[in-house]
């Protein structure tokens, strides 16, 4: 959202007033700066629809000769948002580009920018762009983090295919998921939300760690993951992607952009996937992965004038997943164990940015989004049907009083209508939270930034609650900079909706009444350093430490009784502490290596004892190697991971059916891409070492017995897989 508003501000383009200069020539002169007012050398300035253009000099200045009757110029710079503005001859313009994605590695068009660590943003943010997303099979959002050291994606259980994302060692419900900076996939949609965004639709993903800006709400305890879909103004006219894997998963994606006129454009997206072949490599009689069919449709509109940017989008998802015993077993028994989950989901959003002063220093952003999620599920004999409606609105006013002082303020509303029925027992839980917020940003000489924010929200049971947050950034010199953040976050848990996969077990689900809203303090520090190793190359090193301290938490106690899961309020301490170091280096032209290591320490008080959180890996080591040939026609990617061991929930002491701990396990994947002018082909393999968790489903032979449990998953459930795909695109005409 922050970027949306900022973008809005800069879309207004004209920052300095148009000054009339002595009318000697009809040249357009101007200066291009970043958000912090620093000049941007090397930015492109050219006539829209014309042939000529120029580049800004060392001080960010340009002098553009007139061309015909053209009156609109485009200002662009790699890693920044493009800007288009109307100009009158003989004027001086000041253009401020949105610098959210400033590349700290090396701003150079020679290099395809894959991962950008924003140097300007006060919140630690890493942007993965299309190039990065294409380094792996990347069929959907959940599969996009193979090369990312910070984000872990694992299966929640061995039957439903539900996935959870982990950031700072904590589960996905503490990470705020956003699409186009709008909170999405909350509650009921969270177990499968990662499957609801097809890879080829994404333009970029931003992962930010630690507490977020108060403008985005009170959630986001450990960080944010934002997905930007492709935009009609910057996308190819038509793109097609086809994918197939050795597990006979087939996917087709198509998107098309239409420019209706100068101000209006639209884009259509369609996705179909079919993964309906049965696999049982483990031989336990259960499908290794569910059979899935998904239809996903999205249409977005983009409207823009000098004073207004308006976006509207509508999305529909249908998904059917079936799992449980294989056909062979289903035929043998009268009473087969089957899992079926059918989902319909609709989303609508509109984002509007209004600039109502000529200088573009003030803007108003209005976001309204709604979604409806309907899920019908059966796990053996247990039925869980639920639906959730959501309405979200956020109004943000932003103004820059002075280059050193900026203020943001606004009001938000979040409403959830939640209805669930478990074996015909109906329950409703509606929640409406209105809130207000204010945020102040102070900048000192481009070296120091402080952003302090506070919000107040009203909740039915908690009444008025306050969320304070503080971010600091210190940028003393070119080769190093530091960040620090501290703040509070809170959220309401939808126990069954978010943990519905636990129904794929015979564990009794016990939920205490009067569960409190969860809340935590998050604290983080990080340092980014660049060590020169010669004339051009630098080793980039990022080190960080994040600590999350829960004041209220809903604990899933899987330990006290191996035949039950008990959701209860935290009584005692609960924390997560993670330390991560990441090193990036281009050894020689085209050959880049990233190595990262993370130590995770997550403990919570379970039944009176402070214990390691079960099914959470103690460490993760990641090594990715990429090589591109000089003309970038060939690309080779290899990624290896070692995920550290961890604790299992306590097994039955009299009849232990699983170990007390699991050992570290490796994952290796690779891909080869061959690019042609308008298309590319890729082929690769996942889990090359073919390492899988043995017996991921406990007592699979007796799904109706008391020991059956598909949720004791810590490692890969599927073995080695090969895949291949094709991408074709028709570029936009100039």
């Amino acid at each position: 959202m922050k970027s949306f508003i900022k973008r809005g501000a800069l879309f207004s383009l004209l920052i300095g007033t148009a000054l009339s200069v002595a009318a000697q020539s009809a040249h357009i002169q101007g200066t291009v700066v970043d958000e912090e007012g620093r000049p941007l050398p090397g930015a492109d300035v050219y006539w829209m629809g014309g042939k000529s253009g120029t580049i800004t000099d060392e001080k960010g200045n340009f002098d553009l000769e007139p061309e015909g009757n053209l009156r609109k110029i485009i200002v662009s710079f790699i890693g920044y948002q493009n800007d288009t503005l109307s100009v009158t001859p003989d004027t001086h313009v000041k253009v401020k580009l949105s610098s959210l994605e400033l590349d700290e590695v090396n701003v150079s068009a020679k290099k395809m920018l894959y991962v950008l660590n924003s140097r300007v943003d006060v919140v630690q943010t890493q942007k993965m762009n299309e190039g990065e997303l294409r380094r792996a099979a990347c069929c959907n959002l959940g599969e996009s983090f193979v090369n990312n050291p910070s984000v872990d994606v694992s299966y929640s259980d061995a039957a439903t295919g539900a996935k959870q994302i982990k950031l700072l060692g904590l589960s996905g419900s503490y990470v705020q998921m956003l699409t186009e900076k709008i909170p999405n996939f909350r509650g009921l949609a969270s177990p499968f939300g990662l499957n609801f965004i097809p890879g080829p639709w994404m333009e970029s993903i931003q992962v930010s760690k630690g507490i977020a800006s108060v403008a985005d709400g009170f959630e986001a305890l450990t960080g944010q993951i934002n997905v930007e879909y492709k935009k009609p103004i910057s996308s190819d006219q038509l793109s097609i992607n086809l994918f197939g894997s050795s597990a006979r998963r087939l996917e087709g994606n198509i998107d098309a952009a239409f420019k209706i006129n100068d101000t209006l454009s639209t884009m259509l997206f369609a996705h179909y996937e079919n993964d309906t072949k049965e696999h049982d490599m483990g031989g336990d009689g259960f499908l290794d992965q569910p059979k899935v069919q998904q239809v996903n449709l999205f249409n977005r509109w983009y409207y823009r004038t000098d004073k207004l940017i308006s976006q509207v989008g509508a999305k529909y998802i249908y998904e059917d997943r079936k799992s449980g015993e294989t056909k062979q077993y289903r035929e043998k028994t009268e009473n087969p164990y089957e899992i079926g989950i059918t989902t319909h989901r609709g989303e609508l959003f509109t984002k509007n940015g209004i600039m109502y002063d000529d200088k573009g220093n003030s803007s108003l952003g209005i976001i309204v989004a709604g979604s409806y999620h309907d899920q019908k599920a059966s796990y053996g004999r247990a039925k869980y049907d639920a639906n959730q409606g959501n309405l979200y609105a956020n109004i943000i006013y932003e103004t820059e009083l002075h280059p050193a002082h900026a203020v943001k303020g606004g009001a938000s509303f979040n409403g959830d209508w939640f209805h669930e029925s478990i074996d015909k027992t109906e329950a409703d839980a509606n929640e409406f939270i209105p809130g207000i917020f204010a945020e102040y940003t102070f900048k000192w000489q481009q070296k120091f930034v402080a952003m302090v924010g506070v919000r107040g929200d009203y909740h039915r049971t908690e009444k008025f609650f306050v969320t304070p947050r503080l971010h600091l950034k210190y940028d003393p010199c070119e080769w190093v900079y530091f960040r620090g953040s501290i703040g509070k976050g809170s959220r309401t848990t939808r126990v069954l909706g978010e943990n519905s996969y636990l129904m794929a077990s015979s564990r009794k689900i016990l939920i205490d009444e009067q569960l409190k809203r969860e809340s935590a303090w998050n604290f983080g520090i990080s340092a980014n350093a660049f060590i020169p190793t010669g004339k051009k190359r630098k080793i980039s090193v990022i080190t960080e430490w994040y600590y999350t301290h829960f004041t209220d938490q809903v604990i899933a106690d899987l330990d006290s009784d191996p035949h039950q899961v008990h959701f209860t309020n935290l009584d005692g301490r609960s924390y997560s502490s993670t330390f991560q170091a990441e090193v990036n280096y281009e050894f020689f032209r085209g050959f880049t290596v990233t190595a990262a290591h993370r130590i995770t320490d997550v403990k919570q008080t379970i039944n009176g004892r402070l214990r390691e959180k079960p099914l959470t890996s103690r460490f993760k080591t990641l090594l990715t190697v990429m090589y591109q040939t000089p003309l970038k026609k060939w690309q080779f990617d290899v990624t290896g991971q070692l995920n550290g061991g961890g604790r299992m929930p306590d097994p039955d002491p009299d009849q232990p059916l699983w170990e007390r701990r699991y050992k570290p396990f490796p994952l290796l994947s690779g891909q080869v891409t061959r690019r042609f002018k308008h298309w590319s082909v890729y082929a690769g393999a996942e889990n090359i070492l073919n390492f899988t968790q043995e017996h991921p489903i406990i007592d699979a032979e007796n799904p109706w017995g008391e020991h059956f449990d598909a949720s004791m998953v810590w490692g890969p459930v599927h073995g080695r897989k090969f895949y291949a795909g094709l991408r074709w695109s028709l570029p936009q005409k100039d």
Binding site: G42, D44, V45, Y46, K51, S52, G53, T54, I55, S76, F77, I78, A109, K110, F588, R589, G590, F591, V593, L623, V625, Y627, T629, P630, L631, K632, K633, F636, V638, G640, L642, P666, L668, G670, F676, K677, L689
Partner: protein
């Protein structure tokens, strides 16, 4: 696992070495003055000239408005490359080499 990474790294290294040294004699480089204005133009040139027959390497210098193309003498020549630039909408001239050093 280390062994695997090492193998991959070494093969990638070899591969690039092969690219550099194979048939060095029948390759030639030429630098053109190209009136390109922006990074978008640069991307357009990179995405198209790279796929011209015979082209083995490409380096674009936007600030100096120069493009250096390395090509196989057997497969293409300066005139053909000029033609390729023309198709993209750029009239180019060859930068005369300064043989001082």
């Amino acid at each position: 696992m280390k062994a695997i990474f090492r193998t991959i790294a070494i093969s990638a290294l070899l591969l690039s070495a092969v690219n550099v040294f194979a048939g060095k004699n029948d390759k030639e480089s030429v630098t053109f003055n190209v009136a390109m204005k922006c990074h978008k133009c640069q991307a357009k040139i990179e995405n198209n000239i790279a796929y011209e027959k015979g082209v083995t390497d490409l380096s674009v210098n936007l600030e100096e408005k120069k493009v250096t193309v390395t090509y196989k003498k057997k497969s293409t020549d300066v005139e053909k490359l000029k033609e390729a630039f023309k198709k993209l909408g750029y009239e180019v001239t060859v930068v005369e080499e300064e043989k001082k050093e």
